[in-house]
Point group: C2
Chain length 300, copies 2
């Protein structure tokens, strides 16, 4: 299974709609993990730009992360996991991700995301879970109420029963075993180097790609096989600014940080490409190259 | 010279920001012509959707066209060509195209866009043109004031003179002779078939591409050489809806209209891709294929 990972580096300009565009771009390209890092470091010029409606500096990344998590969460679970918050006050403007794990109420599905309910069950019987269906699901384990779980529903259900039956599985199972895109996780990093070092995968990222107008022409390269690919985008001032702001990095050329340093839009007709555009452009170009590496996974 | 043409079909939801995203996507990929067509036909459900701030139905396309033209116009000429209009009331939100023909005041450039001034010149001498520089430009011809012109500045200028000197050239010259991206033209079409038939190029479009989730996997095709390529995007309901709404078309499968009918994002992780996303995704994928056809033109 391909794990395409994105890290988005965001300048302080962080409107809700922009966050929604980033979330959708990640979903469209089946990104498994989004890493957000502070482009300028906490003490830098984070008051510049269109920094509206967010009180404190440094919160821009947190707000972006919160909106990304909100959009990733299936609609029927949002009440449980997202109490009212000022970062989400314009959530009504957001376009839905409409990804496969956002099930409609009557959709028949093998896997569903759910929340463990605060409803007592008999000893030896499992907890009840709200999976956004007309009936709750009784799972095989006793779990703490309020947990978000991934449920595999039993193939045969008693249609007359008061509940459905299912078992809890690891969140990656729909993706790794059934090939379904199952949303992304969100990670915050304090600086560019932390993006690369604080990896959630035991074996780390085995293919890292930096994107820049000053990178190598992506048309001329083919990708090697990989397990966990990380694609890194700069902010308005490019990855150079992130390298400068990062006290852990004693270099000036961001290219040395990555396995590949690519210009994914050679011949661009605008002097600048915005981060939300770069994500769609780069992932579209890389998706072609990825499917050449993993022809079996291509659904086309 | 590659002529990549886009037609965007827009559902009534037409906010200013969306128009700006489309304009930027076209500029980033050096699109020469944008064709906007009415997806649903004038009499259809054009009151549905987020149709805010536009009084009459059928005006959505006009507003989109106006914003696209506004953004394409260099900043210093906008006062001359865009009087205040309700369609442009939120123009302050728009991200600039920042394309090469949007010159800064002191930028030295061979070509510049300008407006002919209402300032008399002696018989036999040419008109004066505002090209957004500190001095006006005297051109080789007498032209009507208010015309938008493309000016080629003389290589040697008298730095002490009150004006610069230049000649008027056809608007395509910076693109075809100097390889500079020089913005797009905008055309309105009443329906899908008019997009294809009312072509401004004498020899028509010699490569037409329809985009659809139901198209063929774009990864498996290579493009033929072409002079004028047209890429067509559907609205929320896809090109199928446009075919249905078009009285001139007696077909149900949009695929038969185009030389190629492509899915440019196989394996998408969202059930839907929005038009503004599809433009970036598709043009990024096609750009790779285009530069394989025209390796000389690649700037990377």
């Amino acid at each position: 299974i391909i794990k395409t990972l994105i890290k988005t580096i965001m300048s302080p300009e962080l409107r809700t709609y922009l966050a929604g565009q980033i979330a959708r771009a990640c979903a469209v390209f089946c990104v498994d993990e989004v890493v957000i890092f502070d482009e300028l470091g906490e003490d830098a010029k984070s008051v510049e730009g269109e920094f509206k409606g967010i009180g404190k500096k440094g919160q821009a990344c947190v707000q972006l992360a919160r909106i990304l998590q909100y959009l990733e969460c299936p609609q029927y679970l949002r009440k449980s996991f997202f109490p009212k918050h000022q970062d989400l006050q314009f959530a009504g403007l957001l376009n839905p991700l409409d990804s496969p794990h956002h099930m409609r109420i009557d959709e028949e599905a093998e896997f569903r995301e759910g929340v463990v309910l605060d409803r007592p069950s008999k000893p030896g019987k499992g907890s009840f879970v709200n999976c956004g269906m007309r009936k709750n699901v009784q799972i095989d384990k006793q779990l703490k109420s309020g947990l978000r779980v991934t449920v595999q529903l039993n193939k045969c259900q008693n249609k007359e029963g008061k509940v459905y039956k299912g078992v809890v599985v690891a969140p990656h199972v729909p993706r790794t075993e059934a090939g379904l895109y199952w949303g992304y996780s969100v990670r915050l990093a304090s600086c560019l180097s932390a993006v690369l070092t604080e990896c959630q995968y035991k074996d780390g990222y085995d293919l890292t790609v930096g994107t820049s107008e000053r990178g190598n022409n992506a048309d001329h390269i083919t990708l090697p096989a990989f397990r966990h690919m990380l694609v890194v985008f700069g902010g308005l001032q490019g990855l150079e600014a992130s390298v400068d702001a990062d006290e852990n990095l004693n270099i000036t050329d961001p290219g040395v940080l990555f396995d590949l340093y690519l210009n994914t839009c050679p011949g661009q007709g605008s002097r600048t490409i915005r981060t939300e555009e770069a994500i769609l452009i780069s992932l579209s170009g890389l998706r072609q190259k990825i499917s050449a590496v993993f022809p079996d996974q291509s659904k086309g």
